[in-house]
């Protein structure tokens, strides 16, 4: 199985682990991720303003490239996923926006045809948890792991359609498949305040601590996330339990972690 793959800029720099392990694990699980050529940064945040067109063009080009390759698109970073998926939704449902975008696209007209999977959806819907279980060589038995969804993966649900936005299970199910014990806590789908980290760091710290406290009270030993910004923000806010990328966790269980640790 082959998919177009969009890592995004953070995964090429500060969050290399998220990217490297995503590819390694995909290979173990029988999926080839083919990186899109010459991609540009998605912009990090989806501007909901209807009249912002230029800021969304890079995402449209990513989607168009996947379509040209005749492949579905896979993303890993929560923020990239949110931006690309919301852009695709706007291309499908906002005719005025789509026509404005297509004025920039020359012969590459695009109308939302590409299907997008987040890495988690790829595992759940394409690979299947059973296949993951088969491939686990280091079961993470006994580990109490708290899934941190944050806001970007689940909302707005009318666009993201990943899981129940209020009571998601997609990461918990993966944690179970890896042999560990998921810790369910109330603030796993609340915002860590990542986007205001630069603008008002005290607010970001406050919000992160609410999440960390909630997870720790529920007995978490590790927090797992798919978002480099969440990881950074939780860590900077003084989180005293490890925060790891979900692909790192997956790599550990699939036994491919050491291979890439230089």
């Amino acid at each position: 199985m082959k998919f177009s793959y969009f890592p995004g800029c953070t995964l090429k720099n500060k969050a290399k682990d998220l990217d490297i392990y995503a590819r390694k694990c995909a290979e173990v699980l029988g999926v080839t991720l083919e990186e899109i050529e010459n991609w540009q940064c998605c912009g990090g945040v989806f501007t909901t303003a209807k009249d912002e067109v230029a800021t969304k063009l890079s995402s449209v080009r990513i989607l168009k490239d996947a379509q040209k390759n005749n492949l579905d698109l896979v993303t890993v970073c929560s923020a990239c996923h949110n931006v690309v998926k919301q852009t695709n939704y706007a291309m499908q449902n906002d005719a005025e926006f789509a026509s404005k975008v297509n004025r920039y696209m020359a012969e590459d007209e695009y109308n939302g045809e590409t299907k997008i999977y987040h890495y988690l959806e790829l595992i759940r819907d394409v690979i299947g948890y059973d296949k993951v279980k088969e491939c686990v060589v280091n079961p993470l038995a006994g580990k109490k792991i708290a899934a941190y969804y944050g806001c970007l993966l689940l909302r707005p649900n009318s666009v993201m359609r990943m899981d129940d936005p209020e009571n998601p299970t997609i990461i918990e199910d993966l944690i179970k498949a890896l042999g560990a014990t998921p810790v369910v806590y109330s603030y796993r789908n609340e915002c860590c305040g990542g986007y205001v980290r630069m603008e008002s760091p005290e607010l970001a710290v406050k919000k992160s601590n609410t999440v960390i406290e909630s997870a720790k009270k529920a007995g978490a030993e590790v927090i797992v996330t798919a978002c480099p910004l969440c990881k950074y923000n939780l860590e900077k806010s003084g989180c005293d339990i490890p925060v790891v990328y979900l692909t790192e966790l997956l790599a550990e269980a699939l036994g491919v972690k050491e291979d890439t640790n230089e």
């Binding site: 009318s158 129940d164 209020e166 009571n167 369910v184 109330s186 603030y187 609340e190 909630s214 009270k217």
Partner: protein, 664 residues
């Protein structure tokens, strides 16, 4: 040639607002056959009808065209008017210039032009109308009530009281419905069981009423006065006529882990059970999903302890076919699922419950014997938060809830809050509301009492998130009047879930060819004037299947539905539809094409002697339509290859004339 009178109705501004009624009347005056044309504000009013009657006399009219609302609304009215004026009622045609013209078009010239064309089509048809005389059909003097809640019970009792036989079909093992699950009722706080169970006993003892419990309607055929209904009596594996309801089996059954749906699965029952002590019929039922004997043939305890010998593991579903003159739908409501509202943590904490669950928790016959205890740890809650409007009043684009107000939640929440404070004065009770809606007799007084006498805190604002933290629930909410975000620690959160029609309603509506709205509530024949009748003749509506209702309203509507049924069953004969098929025997070649397509078996053949021009006789096979059986669908008219078959009132020539008029 007919002498036709055209009458154009304004319907106040409903028609006249978009259609130039004067111009329509003028234009139609010039049509062939038209000798009189008039317009009037309300043709359906007495004065409007008098206008028609007078015109018939003065102008010797032989046909009438009324350009007005849908014939589904007032065709019958104007036919009566025609009859009163001495015309055959079937010499009337309606041009629908309201629902299908003025209400769907916005511009006056367009509406007027279309109204004229529709009027021309009606005139073209009337020109070819012939007087028709309806046949008659007998009325089966028995009513069917579908649903055995308070709505169905009241309707059945009222019909039986008038001396007619009634059957109640209830899908659960007992009648009683939602009201049987309630503790107290607002605004008087009398106990639901105390006022409901005597009525259930009345039903059981009334010799005019039969109860088919644990049964479902599976097929409905026929028409008003003559419905043929198939009822499936599901196997309960207990012989109803032998079971004494002693309950020995329900105590001895070793399978104890069956979720008790009567208590909303907050406790368990046995695999053989009687839903509650006052169940009617008081007969045990075996749940085949849990009974070991039925699943793998190992057990048989209930059979051993039953001294009446009522247990029958081999029982099969049984089908009953019965005739009815009228059908009453009383399928009721359910609270919506809270699965999509997990910001309130319903699926994450046992201590977040719905109001109906709260009702069971405070009911003396409930899982806690009436003590208000938290489902998670059985502790007494010190602080309770009620959340109103969960899933009600949502935007149409919102995927989670309903657009309508569920109507009963404000009052039952005030009741719950008040009763809690009354029984447990140490318990702190907070209600989050958007609006408190109390339009009902003594309703607002009741709500004020909750606030002023019982000290319930009402806070204007919605709850945004409920977080289970340890054994507490953190409730994050708005206090709009104080412009604050509150974080309250609660022990129990109660959600006033929106209500929706029972899931059985839609397939039933299909069987009955009764119409529903987009929320699956049954549509009434007229929202103001015929609120308890379905547009389908002979089908009546009782209770919450038609829209959210409290108990007093339900009982009132149940009685109204019963009176409509009684009015129907009191008739010995119903005047039928004269628009039936008939065959022109001179053209019929006896090919049987029509017979094969007739869904009612209304067509038979006979050999008839014809005298030929040369004075010889010839015997030919010809089709004959039984007008009492024919329902007038007209399928045979199209199947007939020789054009012998035609439909009265909708003759091929007439429809063709309408086509011509429209296409001119």
């Amino acid at each position: 040639m007919q002498r036709i009178g055209v009458f154009v109705c304004w319907c106040g501004s409903n028609i006249a607002g978009t259609v130039d009624v004067v111009a329509v009347a003028e234009a139609l005056k010039k049509e062939p056959g038209v000798v009189f044309s008039a317009n009037y504000q309300y043709m359906c009013s007495q004065a409007g009808q008098d206008l028609i009657k007078q015109a018939v006399k003065e102008h010797n009219l032989t046909g009438i065209v009324v350009c007005s609302c849908s014939p589904r609304m007032h065709e019958a009215t104007f036919r009566k008017t025609a009859a009163a004026a001495g015309l055959n009622p079937y010499m009337v045609e309606i041009a629908n210039i309201r629902e299908q013209c003025s209400w769907v078009h916005k511009e006056m010239p367009i509406g007027t032009e279309k109204a004229i064309i529709l009027g021309k089509a009606a005139i073209a048809k009337v020109n070819l109308n012939v007087p028709l005389t309806p046949g008659e059909s007998p009325v089966t003097k028995r009513a069917l009530v579908i649903g055995g809640g308070i709505a169905g019970i009241q309707t059945a009792l009222d019909i039986a009281d008038a001396g007619f036989e009634v059957d109640i079909v209830e899908k659960k093992p007992t009648i009683g419905g939602k009201m049987a699950q309630l503790d107290k009722t607002f605004p008087t706080l009398d106990c639901a069981a105390c006022i409901l169970t005597p009525k259930m006993v009345d039903v059981a003892q009334n010799e005019k009423i039969r109860i088919f419990s644990y049964s479902e309607v599976t097929e409905v055929k026929g028409f008003v006065g003559n419905f043929d209904v198939k009822i499936k009596k599901k196997a309960r594996y207990v012989k109803e006529e032998l079971c004494t309801g002693c309950g020995a089996c329900t105590e001895k059954c070793p399978m104890k882990k069956v979720p008790n749906d009567f208590n909303l699965n907050m406790d368990t029952k046995r695999a053989i059970y009687i839903p509650f002590a006052q169940a009617v019929p008081k007969v045990a039922t075996i749940d085949p999903d849990y009974c070991n004997m039925l699943k793998n043939g190992k057990c048989g305890v209930c059979s051993k302890v039953c001294t009446a010998g009522a247990i029958d593991y081999t029982q099969k579903d049984e089908f009953i076919e019965e005739k009815y003159g009228a059908i009453v739908v009383a399928t009721g409501f359910n609270p919506i699922s809270m699965d999509k509202f997990d910001e309130f943590a319903y699926n994450q904490s046992k201590d977040v419950i719905t109001s109906l669950e709260f009702e069971r928790l405070t009911n003396a016959a409930g899982p806690t014997a009436g003590k208000l205890l938290r489902p998670s740890d059985g502790k007494h809650p010190e602080k309770i938060v009620f959340v109103q409007c969960v899933g009600s009043r949502c935007d149409a684009c919102n995927e989670k809830g309903k657009e309508y107000c569920s109507k009963i939640c404000c009052m039952y929440t005030a009741k719950h809050a008040m009763l809690t404070r009354d029984k447990y004065p140490d318990t702190d009770v907070t209600v989050f509301y958007i609006d408190v809606r109390t339009p009902g007799k003594n309703f607002d007084e009741f709500y004020r009492r909750a606030v002023e006498e019982y000290g319930v805190h009402y806070i204007k604002g919605m709850v945004g998130k409920v977080s289970p933290e340890g054994d507490k629930l953190m409730v994050q909410a708005s206090d709009l009047l104080d412009n604050k975000q509150l974080k309250i620690e609660a022990d129990l959160v109660v959600l006033a879930a929106a209500i929706e029609p029972d899931k059985s309603a839609r397939p039933l509506a299909t069987m009955l060819t009764a119409s529903m709205d987009t929320n699956d509530f049954f549509t009434e024949a007229h929202p103001k004037l015929r609120p308890v009748e379905s547009p389908t003749a002979g089908v009546f509506l009782s209770g919450a299947c038609q829209g959210p209702k409290d108990i007093p309203e339900t009982v009132a509507q149940a009685g109204a539905a019963a009176s409509k049924v009684i009015g129907l069953l009191a008739k010995d004969k119903l005047t039928g539809n004269p628009c039936v098929a008939h065959s022109n025997e001179l053209m019929c070649n006896g090919c049987s094409s029509c017979e094969r397509v007739c869904p009612y078996g209304a067509i038979t053949y006979e050999d008839k002697e014809f005298r030929m021009p040369d004075r010889t006789t010839q015997i030919r096979r010809i089709a004959v339509v039984n007008p009492a059986v024919c329902q007038g669908c007209g399928c045979c008219t199209v199947a007939c290859p020789s054009g012998a078959m035609d439909l009265k009132g909708f003759a091929s020539e007439q429809i063709m004339a309408e086509v011509d008029a429209i296409c001119k």
